[in-house]
């Protein structure tokens, strides 16, 4: 046998040599057939991308092993420092460190974070505070831009010297880039400080919605700088453009969201690819909006918000878990990569440092933010039912962090129209560093110092759900009595419209008729049953390994005869073997529910699962088909 193998190997070797020789066109070359050769160019791109992502993930892993550090310094700061180190390392090695490519940023790194935020956006607080959020996002950003642009221009005029060439339009453009609060940075810092829901949604909502303003102003000023002169008509068109960008983005997102919901209605036979539809439709919404220079971020948010209730009613529980974990994973990796690249780009990018410009920028950022927030809150509080206190205003103002979006927008500027692009980049990087490091690090102790209300850990409780719905009905009725078409009235109308028409189209099967209360209750029961199953199985597995003494004790009290025990053992052994034979083959296209079980305690798990399924099916009974209406009504009447 071995001799035959050796002969075959030798034969193969010779053939290889022959073939190798035949392929050589050059007769003088008598090279040996390369058993091991290196071809790095073939895999360079994917290899480097994977290496970066691996580095980012390992960094994330490392931080959480050092609880001392991660308790004081927010993760984003540490990641930027890592980026600086890596960039320095690359520079020391002689190569040029890569810069954060704007196309890569806007098309690959930003969408996962925004989709994750939009899909899991808490709708109720968002709509309740929508007016406030919009005011901060639109009016606040406009104020910041013009205030900063004007004061910077004045400062440049006064300074003269190198800054004399900076004209008003450039200052306004710089203002529009640097004023926008960045959703990535806000998420990264606010995730860790756990403030109450209201403040979180205010700052976060503002950072999402100000994208429309930023996009419009950026393109506006860029066009003006390119064209050379500005007329009143242009300004008017700019205002129109804002509405088109914002509403257009939302519309595009909404359309894709409806499509996704409709598609998910028919996926009951191909459960495996359900998450893919969610991701693809959302990404297409983003890209389609970017094609027309509409606000991609708003499209993505609108898509996620619109499709979520219907998709969740249609897809399986596993797909829901998959979507949740994939989104969290991608957004986490993206965020890490963004901050690392920011650090690397700082080392790489061409810098033009100017003390005056940079220091004035930082001071102005803080000043305009504080003034804007205080001024707007004074106006807003007249219309709000729950007023914003001074502490709230401080957190909103202090939480206005700048991030990578500002950097990428500045990077996209053309050097021909803007000769001072390098100075802008340096100033923006300094502002980003300042906000992320100084504000990011100090916001946690400040929150504790000012005793700002923290987020309440809410377990989902059936009581809260029932009573909240009860109150909503009550308030809608009271508004009807007052003759006041307020918040509750419109929400009630929207719910009825939703229930009557939209749910019928977009949710398949009997789930379309299910009231919200029942689906909430079912979800809760399912969650609890699964938790019970997991805790029971893990308890039994560990008990089987460690509990020798308790078993003996129970044996004493059981009093089974020896033959009976032998009989039981034989039955158990036989069943265990049978289940091993009964394993079904694993197919890539379908997921059988118990294809993976290969554990020695499988029978025990099986028994528990059967018991759990019996319990679940009791609670998840398909709602009884309505009997003849008069009989049904009579029953209701008699209750």
């Amino acid at each position: 046998m071995k001799k035959r193998m050796k002969m075959l190997l030798l034969l193969g070797f010779c053939c290889g040599m022959v073939f190798g020789d035949q392929n050589r066109s050059d007769p003088h070359d008598q090279r040996v057939f390369p058993v091991l050769s290196i071809n790095y160019d073939y895999v360079q791109m994917p290899f480097e991308v994977s290496l970066w992502i691996l580095l980012a993930s390992l960094m994330k892993l490392g931080f959480h092993l050092l609880p001392v550090l991660s308790g004081v310094v927010p993760e984003s700061c540490l990641l930027i420092v890592v980026g600086l180190l890596v960039g320095g390392l690359i520079r020391v090695m002689g190569k040029n460190p890569p810069v954060l490519d704007s196309q890569l940023f806007f098309l690959c790194l930003l969408p996962p974070i925004i989709l994750d935020a939009g899909y899991f956006l808490p709708i109720r607080p968002f709509t309740e505070n929508a007016g406030t959020i919009l005011t901060f996002a639109v009016l606040g950003t406009l104020w910041n831009v013009f205030f900063m642009g004007a004061v910077l221009y004045g400062a440049c005029r006064l300074e003269a010297g190198r800054l004399a060439s900076v004209d008003l339009l450039s200052c306004l453009l710089f203002g529009s880039i640097v004023s926008a609060v960045d959703p990535v940075a806000v998420l990264a810092v606010f995730e860790e400080i756990h403030i109450n829901e209201l403040l979180h949604i205010l700052v976060f909502g503002e950072s999402l919605l100000n994208d429309a303003v930023t996009v419009v102003l950026y393109h506006l000023f860029e066009e003006f700088a390119h064209a050379g002169e500005v007329t009143v008509g242009d300004v008017f068109l700019g205002v129109v453009c804002f509405f088109v960008v914002a509403l257009g983005g939302v519309l595009v997102g909404g359309v894709y969201g409806v499509l996704a919901a409709f598609t998910s209605r028919f996926t009951s036979h191909t459960r495996v690819i359900e998450p893919l539809f969610v991701f693809l439709y959302s990404y297409m919404a983003y890209l389609s909006a970017e094609v027309f220079h509409l606000s991609g971020i708003m499209a993505l948010i609108a898509c996620g918000v619109v499709m979520r209730p219907y998709v969740e009613a249609n897809i399986s529980h596993k797909s829901y878990t998959t979507i949740k974990y994939f989104l969290k994973m991608w957004s986490s990796v993206s965020e890490t990569l963004i901050f690392i690249f920011l650090g690397v780009s700082t080392v790489a990018g061409p810098h033009a440092w100017n003390w005056t410009f940079v220091s004035i920028t930082i001071v102005l950022c803080l000043l305009s933010r504080v003034l804007g927030v205080v001024g707007l809150t004074y106006i807003i509080n007249k219309y709000r039912m729950v007023k914003l206190s001074g502490k709230d205003q401080f957190i909103v103002a202090y939480g206005g962090l700048r991030g990578a979006i500002a950097f990428s927008l500045a990077f996209l500027l053309s050097s021909d129209d803007f000769p001072m692009k390098d100075m802008f980049l340096t100033a923006i990087i300094t502002v980003i560093f300042f906000t992320v490091f100084v504000q990011g690090m100090t916001i946690r102790p400040l929150v504790d110092l000012l005793a700002v209300k923290k987020r309440k850990q809410s377990k989902c409780s059936i009581n809260e759900e029932i009573h909240t719905q009860f109150l909503e009905h009550l308030l809608a009725g009271i508004e009807g009595v007052c003759g006041h078409y307020g918040h509750h009235h419109w929400r009630h109308k929207l719910n009825r419209f939703n229930k009557r028409y939209i749910k019928r189209c977009l949710i398949g099967g009997e789930r379309s008729q299910e009231p919200q209360l029942i689906s909430f209750y079912n979800k809760m029961e399912l969650k609890q049953a699964l938790m019970l199953l997991e805790s029971n199985s893990s308890a039994n597995l560990s008990a089987g390994v460690t509990a020798a003494i308790p078993r003996q004790r129970s044996r004493k009290t059981l009093n089974i005869s020896k033959e009976r025990e032998e009989e039981i053992r034989k039955i158990l052994r036989g069943n265990l073997q049978k289940t091993r034979q009964r394993l079904c083959s694993y197919s890539r296209h379908t997921l059988k529910p118990d294809a993976e079980d290969d554990d020695w305690s499988e029978t025990r798990l099986r028994k528990q699962r059967v018991e759990m399924e019996r319990r679940m099916s009791h609670f998840l009974t398909v709602p009884a088909l309505p009997e003849s209406p008069p009989a049904r009504r009579a029953r209701v009447e008699s209750v």
Partner: protein, 203 residues
């Protein structure tokens, strides 16, 4: 009392705080002048019979209440025990529960008793809508009735029963299989009742 009559009552109120006590003695409902005027015109427009009081039919004519699952109970809340007519004072008193909680009211002295729109009183109003027999407890049957009204006819009784059992089990701390008012308050302590039970109309 016609609108002029009410205006005379309102003339008691001056903008100075030291007359606030006199105002409240005459008129123990915490609403401002403009709010009362608006409510009165609404009351008047609902009162088709022109007799200065609202009957149940007047309320049932409101379209929003007709389609509301809790419509009947809301209407009942406006009528005091055993009466069939709701006068303007009662109308206002019920609606005063839904006035937003003002910050400066929190600092007001509590010698005049807790205002109608405090958190506790708002919750008491909601509790009384559940608790029809006024025994200060929400029993399983009362809960089932409300659930049935909110959920519709498609759900079986067993399912609704298990939901009701689960709800009582979660809230009940003293083991009497009913939800008392203090348990009700405790369960809703994380819910922002001040904002949820306020109407901008009365702002």
């Amino acid at each position: 009392m016609g609108l002029q009559g009410w205006r005379n009552v309102l003339a008691l109120k001056t903008s100075k705080n030291n007359n606030r006590a006199a105002w409240q003695r005459a008129f123990p409902v915490p609403l401002s002048h403009s709010q009362i005027t608006r409510l009165y015109s609404r009351f008047h427009s609902l009162d088709k019979g022109e007799n200065g009081a609202l009957s149940r039919e007047d309320f049932q004519r409101i379209p929003e209440l007709a389609i509301n699952p809790l419509g009947d109970r809301i209407i009942n809340a406006f009528f005091p025990e055993g009466e069939d007519q709701a006068n303007f004072r009662g109308f206002m008193r019920t609606l005063a529960h839904f006035r937003p909680v003002e910050d400066n009211e929190k600092n007001k002295d509590l010698t005049s008793g807790e205002p109608l729109n405090s958190r506790t009183n708002k919750l008491l109003f909601a509790f009384r809508l559940y608790d029809l027999d006024r025994d200060d407890k929400i029993s399983r049957d009362e809960l089932l009735q409300v659930l049935r009204m909110m959920v519709g006819v498609n759900i079986s009784d067993e399912q609704l029963g298990s939901i009701a059992d689960r709800t009582i089990q979660e809230a009940d701390t003293n083991g009497d299989m009913c939800i008392s008012f203090s348990e009700f308050i405790k369960v809703l302590e994380k819910v922002d009742v001040e904002q949820k039970m306020s109407i901008r109309f009365l702002h």
